[in-house]
Amino acid sequence: MITGNLKTSYGADEQVLDNRWKRLFLFSAVLGLGGIAGFGNDYIILIACQMGIMVIAVTGVNVVIGYTGLMSLGHAGFVAIGAYATVIFHNAAGGIIPDGVLTLVAIPFAVAVAALAGIVVGLPSLRVKGLYLAVATLSANFIILFLIEESFSAPWTGGMNGINTPTPNLLGWALDTRREQFILIAALAVLALLGAQNLFRTRVGRAFIAIRDRDYSAEILGISLYRTKLTSFAISAAYCGLAGALFAYFYARILPEQFELQLSLMLVAAIIVGGMGRMMGPVFGVIIIVMVPEAIKVSFGALAGGGAELAMIRAPLQEIAFGALIVGFLLFEPFGITQIMDRALRALNRWPFARG
């Protein structure tokens, strides 16, 4: 708990991680990720990679929903754009740019394309908000997927059948195992979180928060609603584009159906579970959203040893658990796990004098 402002210089006040607990957390997180990269078994690496990709995407969703207060149900579309842009760039520029540099160019390219798409999809946010915006972005998700699947783009995207994805190569270091890819994903995920943490120290980031709290007041304060809302959409789409690029590198093949509404809902569910408008919200949310279906899978495997009958029940149960997580958190803990963590840390800090 912060009991007072103990900073003695402007430099200390402006730091990205403004107290030593945050710095300690960052160092231990990096150590922990390094430990996973070094000693984790294949299953742990696989789950951790999925979580890392999701964390980046959910951080992007958090920028637009949690910090700017614009409802969006279409972010899976941006992930799709990032993934397909990476693959298309690799296929188009494969002969021109040397292999070692290609990945370093392809990722920024995917991010830029996704950000552009974010600006286009964000256009309705200038006219409508709340529910109307949710449906507008949801429509955008359907339209983006349709454009990817349709026969005129099939030569580049592979249409309904999907397309094989390239192996990332960083200056001659081919990341062809899951473990090596995990290093890339984890590094980018940590950087993405730090970048978001930094964003809300800046003028733009604070403008987002002002718009969330009251858009009219923000406008009166001199914030351009148009420009700021579009910036917010662009930044969040860029995060999702980065997640999409990593998604393409991580899986051997991408299919349009991986980016359907289900993924959009999953991204939003993760910040509801984790806590909206909090930097650690995406991390906690993704851990729960990925772990609960996995836990169901593992416990079913232990029960039956993989009988076909039980496998039939497993998928619907995972789906119900996913919905129950959203409903349960909305009903009982609307501010998500960050709120629970806050309470726990506060109790720990005050122990033994008071609880909570």
Binding site: M71, L73, L123, P124, R127, V128, G130, L131, Y132, A134, V135, A136, L138, S139, A140, F142, I143, F146, E149, E150, Y216, L261, L265, V268, A269, I272, M312, I313, A315, P316, L317, Q318, E319, I320, F322, G323, A324, L325, I326, V327, L330, L331, P334
Partner: protein
């Protein structure tokens, strides 16, 4: 030209069903200010309930024979010597199915009404007075719960379900063009339009309809005038789930039953926003427009393109008129 008329009429028939689905979303929104993203999945439950009571129950060992196929003596007499595809034979086929159709509809209506009540009472009521975001996300969570439970309950592959009306082909001339329709489609359209009109009249003239409108206008004033707002809420949900059950039964006979029925709800949601959330007239027009546009797109560009018509239409309309064609402009007090 002949094709154009044919496809327009097909579109109008699809539009009527869209309108029937949309009326559920609008009713819930009018009473409770919640937009139900899971309405498509309520429809899916309606379709599965219809399937259960119209196909599974009559097939059960304990069910009487006349339930599965009703064949009184006079019907057998009429059937004698009829050619294969005559309209009368189709009507007789349908008559044999009437008992199980009625049972199916009654079962679907009752079960779906109960489902709507349970959802309202256990999930929506505790969130009364919370932010719109929370309510909407709750219905989003409901999507997963409903679709997962449907897969758990009805694991068997869905079979053919009896259509609500005799499926005789109808051929007639309009403006010198031959138009070709199926009797069941026409009957579905009439059913959908009658229910839509009935609900609009109910909301306008009956006591409970006026209570719904008063609640929509101002919740706390409605409370103080002696209207039981929670009761209005549950009534709206029952209204939505029962119309959803009828729509589900119709869709089941048209497209078959599958978990994909739930996705239908999203295109109808787009239609509702296009028409304006709180306007029955606007929603009706939007449903018809989208139905016709879809049919024409299917004719000109092919089936895949038809799927995104509602989404493109709603984006265009929202960009020009943010509150839909006939929606009331929200006034925000600062």
């Amino acid at each position: 030209m002949g094709q154009l008329l044919q496809f327009t009429i097909n579109g109008l028939m699809a539009g009527a069903i869209y309108a029937l689905i949309a009326v559920g979303i609008v009713s819930v929104f009018k009473a409770t200010r919640v937009v139900n993203f899971a309405h498509g999945y309520l429809i899916m439950f309606g379709a599965y309930f219809y399937f259960t009571f119209a196909v599974l129950v009559p097939q059960a060992a304990w069910a009487p024979d006349w339930l599965a196929s009703w064949q009184p003596g006079w019907m057998m007499d009429m059937r004698e010597g009829l050619p294969m595809f005559s309209p009368l034979a189709a009507v007789l086929d349908w008559l044999a199915n009437v008992p199980r159709i009625l049972l199916g509809l009654a079962g679907a209506l009752l079960c779906n009404a109960a489902l709507g009540l349970v959802i309202e009472r256990t999930l929506m009521r505790p969130l009364m007075g919370q932010s719109v975001f929370a309510m909407i996300m709750l219905t989003v969570g409901l999507i997963s719960i409903l679709s997962g439970s449907a897969q758990l309950i009805w694991t068997s592959d869905a079979e053919f379900v009896p259509s609500l009306a005799p499926n005789t082909p109808i051929r007639f001339a309009l403006f010198g063009q031959t138009i070709f329709l199926f009797g069941a489609d026409l009957a579905n359209m009439v059913i959908a339009l009658l229910i839509f009109a009935g609900i609009v009249l109910m909301v306008r003239y009956t006591k409970s309809g006026i209570a719904i409108r008063a609640t929509a206008e101002d919740q706390s004033t409605a409370y103080s005038m002696g209207i039981s707002v929670p009761k209005v809420f549950s009534r709206a949900w029952v209204l939505a789930s029962t119309t959803g059950a009828v729509a589900g039964a119709i869709l089941a006979t048209r497209n078959g039953i599958s978990p994909a029925l739930g996705l239908f709800g999203f295109s109808v949601l787009a239609i509702v926003l296009m028409g304006g959330l709180d306007s029955y007239l606007g929603v009706f027009l939007a449903a018809m427009i989208v139905g016709v546009l879809e049919a024409l797109t299917q004719w000109q560009l092919g089936g895949e393109w038809a799927g995104i018509v509602p989404y493109v239409a709603v984006l265009v309309v929202i960009l020009i008129r943010p509150h839909g064609l006939f929606g009331a402009k929200e006034i925000e007090r600062i």
